[in-house]
Symmetry: C2
Subunit: 417 residues, 2 copies
């Protein structure tokens, strides 16, 4: 069983130990039910009783003890994930639909004072902390990710050419889109910061004739990527380097980072800006940042930050422009928000994950399965309901000479959404 996913002792057989709800439990249950009613979720307490009386609900939340009930009322953002992981909150019906309904309980708005305070108090991701954080998430074993990612292990938002595209097609379309937005030319030098299992680096080298230096601090991912490079005879053109983005040196024609910015943390945007400024050729360079973002600066959900993505921070678009691109003196050429494509990607991942349920439970334990299940469903809901955004920014040095427009002048051809 993975560290951090062991259940507290008293919980293991809580159903036997806890007493039936008393008068105050029932009163609290009614208050919580009143909150959940607008999104049609039925609450049940641990004796299976429910104050619901309004037709068919979207799904049911079963609360299995008093402390779980209190947690859902006092600190729902933390408690729902934690109690679900611990098996003290169960969901009947489609988990993703229930979580989406919960996401609609409030609309994303400006950050609260509490959220601002959390942002101010978040420590920076120092080098050592960064390694530990990345190890926590990405070194769960490549076999784990093979269970539910696409065949090339691309762990970022795909781009669906049409509504019935497969995940594999959509990931390949995304890789191509990134290459074409960067206008890669054969023989050019590319730096990739945070290369995952290497799919993009290998794709660029194979189909666009460039040479790539790809950086990552996850050993499991690098081992896999190097093996693929060797198998596909690309080792001479793709160097997979185990190092932090802060240690990138040398010049390149294109700088690309897909899904790393979320791990940098807002207190280290200056370091990333310096790397981008120093590595791009000042005249002909251009770059692309692909990242999970927000409309407003706000901290990542506390439970996800604790259990899934330590150190994670999806930045607001305005922060990336003001705190990464402006200090690096880069000019924004294009921004695309692909959040509905990410919702769809997460649907595909979650379904595959659900199909692999027994394997995951056997290998990692029930709590781990539930944690990742609710994390995937929650992310899907966040992109569907607008709590999260997915941005691709194309940029070039402000003094560069290779400015281009990405789109023909009538860009609004019928699209998927």
């Amino acid at each position: 069983m993975r560290d951090g996913f062991a259940l507290p002792l008293r919980q293991r057989d809580s159903a036997v130990l806890v007493r039936p709800p008393n008068v105050s439990d029932r009163w609290l249950g009614r208050q919580l039910q009143a909150t959940l009613e607008p999104v049609r979720i039925r609450l049940r307490l641990w004796d299976a009783s429910s104050p619901w009386s309004r037709g068919t609900p979207v799904g049911e939340i079963l609360v299995r003890d008093r402390w779980a009930l209190l947690g859902l009322i006092l600190n729902p953002d933390w408690s729902f994930g934690e109690m679900y992981m611990q098996g003290r909150v169960l969901v009947t019906g489609d988990l993703s639909q229930v979580v989406e309904s919960l996401s609609r309980l409030s609309h994303p708005g400006p950050p609260s004072i509490w959220e601002r305070l959390q942002l101010a108090l978040t420590p920076p991701n120092y080098l050592l902390r960064a390694r530990r954080n990345i190890h926590h998430h990405y070194d769960l074993g490549n076999d784990f990710y093979k269970l539910w990612l696409d065949s090339e292990l691309v762990y970022t938002c795909a781009c669906y050419p049409s509504a019935d595209s497969t995940l594999e097609e959509a990931q390949r379309a995304k890789l191509d889109m990134v290459c074409r937005k960067l206008r890669l030319q054969p023989g050019e030098q590319v730096v990739e910061a945070g290369c995952g299992w290497g799919a993009l680096a290998l794709h660029m080298a194979k189909h666009y004739g460039v040479t790539v230096r790809a950086f990552n601090i996850s050993r499991d991912q690098l081992a896999y990527a190097r093996q693929r490079a060797a198998e596909e005879n690309l080792s001479s053109r793709v160097a997979f380097i185990e190092d932090d983005y802060r240690n990138i040196t040398g010049r390149c024609d294109a700088f690309v980072s897909v899904g790393m910015l979320e791990h940098v943390g807002r207190r280290r945007f200056g370091a990333l800006a310096a790397v981008m400024r120093d590595s791009l050729k000042p005249d002909t360079g251009r770059g692309l940042l692909h990242f999970i973002g927000r409309d407003q600066p706000r901290p990542l959900n506390a439970w996800i930050r604790r259990r899934i993505f330590p150190g994670g921070y999806p930045p607001a678009l305005g922060e990336v422009i003001a705190d990464v691109l402006q200090p690096a003196n880069l000019s924004v050429l294009d921004v695309e928000n692909l959040r509905l494509h990410y919702a769809r990607t997460l649907t595909d991942w979650r379904r595959r994950f659900e199909q692999a349920e027994s394997t995951v439970r056997d290998r990692f334990g029930d709590a781990f399965f539930r944690a990742w299940h609710v994390y995937l469903a929650g992310s899907e809901a966040a992109f569907t309901t607008g709590w999260m955004q997915l941005y691709q920014i194309v940029f070039a040095p402000a003094a560069g000479t290779t400015v281009y427009h990405l789109r023909p002048s009538h860009p609004c051809a019928p699209a998927m959404y």
Copy 2:
């Protein structure tokens, strides 16, 4: 002759009055020539002498008196425009090429302390000041703008479908692009803030079947727009309203503003944000901002602010996102940078303006012609060299349900640039 374009008395026949350059004038001339050499511009002093000795220059700058020479050295951003307008600096060769070369003397970078100070000290555009500012620029008489704009008087960046498109075609393509980015549906209500001579409002009503309330505080423009609406039988569907954007009320399906944000001023972004938030339908609304912007916050050139665009401030993209869209709780769907299209638009405008030279000189005087000539050439250079950007942002309320992706998943079809 227009106010503000009268020449100082001693200048009118300066060629007769001034003495030949002395030793220190020649020394200063050599220093200035050394600065201009990298961009291949030859300097001549008022006795036609020149320290240049390096082959064919791009063009020549003739300085006609000592104070003009000092001005170019001590405060070139102000003095070049002012002295050119006053006829105390002349340009031999292609004005636009010379101005472009001057723009390349330095690269756009982070704002200096002096620029930051100017930003901090700029007063807000109060209602009355806003009216005066707009009157200064837009109420020069519709006949003036008819001399060099397209047939529909669209005074914003066009979008060229191909390299040989005419200005008229490119402006129509731009109007269509705006409508399609907004996904206008027949019967919908549109608010336009800052409608110019009404081309977009009329285009939307005529070709997309919407009803429009279009706001403007320029009387000359409104008179023209209303007449066009009457002639084209669109008065029932397009209301041209003489009022400030701050007084917009009521809800709409789409909010659009093309070329107004530059006149709002950074100290009034909050007011615009409030209007946008309050006027868009929270579920199905969406909007578009089209504006001249910057990579970095910096004040508009002092001479242009004084002579051409009082109160003008092209904002940094990051400012618009952080200070307009975030406070209004709007989600960015798409950003397109069209700066090379604006450079091309300005080339077309400048050429038509040059063809109308004698008419403009007769009607407004020589200084006015020179001021506008160097303003158009300077703007063209600024978009060509990256000192200015042209952004279109598409957005929707963060809690909206009509989020869409503008582009098919392979957006990188061959484009003009």
